[in-house]
Symmetry: D2
Subunit: 135 residues, 4 copies
Amino acid sequence: MFIHKLKVRYAETDAMGVAHHSSFFLWMESARVDYLDKNGYPYSTMEEEGFYLPVVEVTCRYLLPVKFNEELSVSLKIQKLTAVSVKIGYEIFNSKGNVVCRASTLHPVVTKEGKIVRMPQKMKDLFLKDLKENL
Amino acid sequence: MFIHKLKVRYAETDAMGVAHHSSFFLWMESARVDYLDKNGYPYSTMEEEGFYLPVVEVTCRYLLPVKFNEELSVSLKIQKLTAVSVKIGYEIFNSKGNVVCRASTLHPVVTKEGKIVRMPQKMKDLFLKDLKENL
Amino acid sequence: MFIHKLKVRYAETDAMGVAHHSSFFLWMESARVDYLDKNGYPYSTMEEEGFYLPVVEVTCRYLLPVKFNEELSVSLKIQKLTAVSVKIGYEIFNSKGNVVCRASTLHPVVTKEGKIVRMPQKMKDLFLKDLKENL
Amino acid sequence: MFIHKLKVRYAETDAMGVAHHSSFFLWMESARVDYLDKNGYPYSTMEEEGFYLPVVEVTCRYLLPVKFNEELSVSLKIQKLTAVSVKIGYEIFNSKGNVVCRASTLHPVVTKEGKIVRMPQKMKDLFLKDLKENL
């Protein structure tokens, strides 16, 4: 399971004194980017090759508030793979090991013009490998 | 049905040239705040009275990309009401009247300390009225 | 003097209970965009014509904190105009009429590739008119 | 000289394909927080002791655009110290070692109520040490 670590920024908190619910989506995005980097297929390379993975659906359940400067671990795993899309699942843990949020994002593979296309083999292989490990 | 209007900010776009998926949550929040203002129970009053409506669950489906400076209409309606929580549904429309996103947020009523409490009558009445209108 | 109105979003506050200092730059940007819209030369038109006004310098003095949902008025005026750049000044007022911030942004005129070019006549005329009114 | 490293997030870019000018302030804030952490006086400890360092003035010159996922180094040094405030200077470098931005932030020491107070000795010592090293 892939883990991305980060610290909650002050700007990500709100007047309730905890991280704003929209911040979690920035962290999951950072985790995706980091995951692709570490697996040798950076998002920027993907874009140069003409493929994009926009977000078309998200779900998120917030279980515990998180504070400024807390160290969080975003775990990420491939939940579902089709010929043209990937669904990614996330659990975010605080430093005590408690789950603070469970979430998912769905991404079709599209061209720069937004046309849905078949996932390139390199991408498929990467996600398949992860999918198998999680079985 | 309540409608909140806004324009997409430049800062809300990303390198794909369209609004970032996290921006939609800021717009829905603005719509909620506007809704409570227009219905005579501002969020700030609610907080002064010791009640908070944190976001504990969200879902969002993105149907169309939106560009910088597009005028959007966020429609909001009460979807479900319990003694201690409210679920709100949203549809965001672009200026051509197309739905760009469908979403929901779930909010328990909590105290400043985060304890879940019964919804105050004033809040219940407001949401109930809306819920009935949507039947 | 041009005035752009807005309300402070919850997401723009931080754990100190007031708007985060970076939020002010989003508001000034909205004011610039609104100013160009209202003066018949929308930023999107400008971009379609191949001209961009990136921010290359900012200054900002924060005089008073602003709270969630406060209504603010961003006043904007052209401070300095050269053949290739424009400097814009801002004062942001709260609903009591107090200045909460004084700021400036400097913008060269550039092409999509980032090359500095002479300001197109239409843009110059717009800014000159405003500059004269402020004398 | 203190260095804080980070990678540009996708959400921090805008439709021009580069990082939005407001993002730089988030990075400088992260650098300040990291600086205080590494020097044994975390911002959260400071807040618990009743001291805050709000931003009351910023300047920033943007020299080079930065792209998504670029690795940046934020260098930070104490520029000026008074009995009640600190001015911090920043240079942000890209991975080629080029300066992408030069900036400063000014912070008075205030109580939770916003009253300006003398800097606590621990904080003064920390900043003084850094100030001397930079001479």
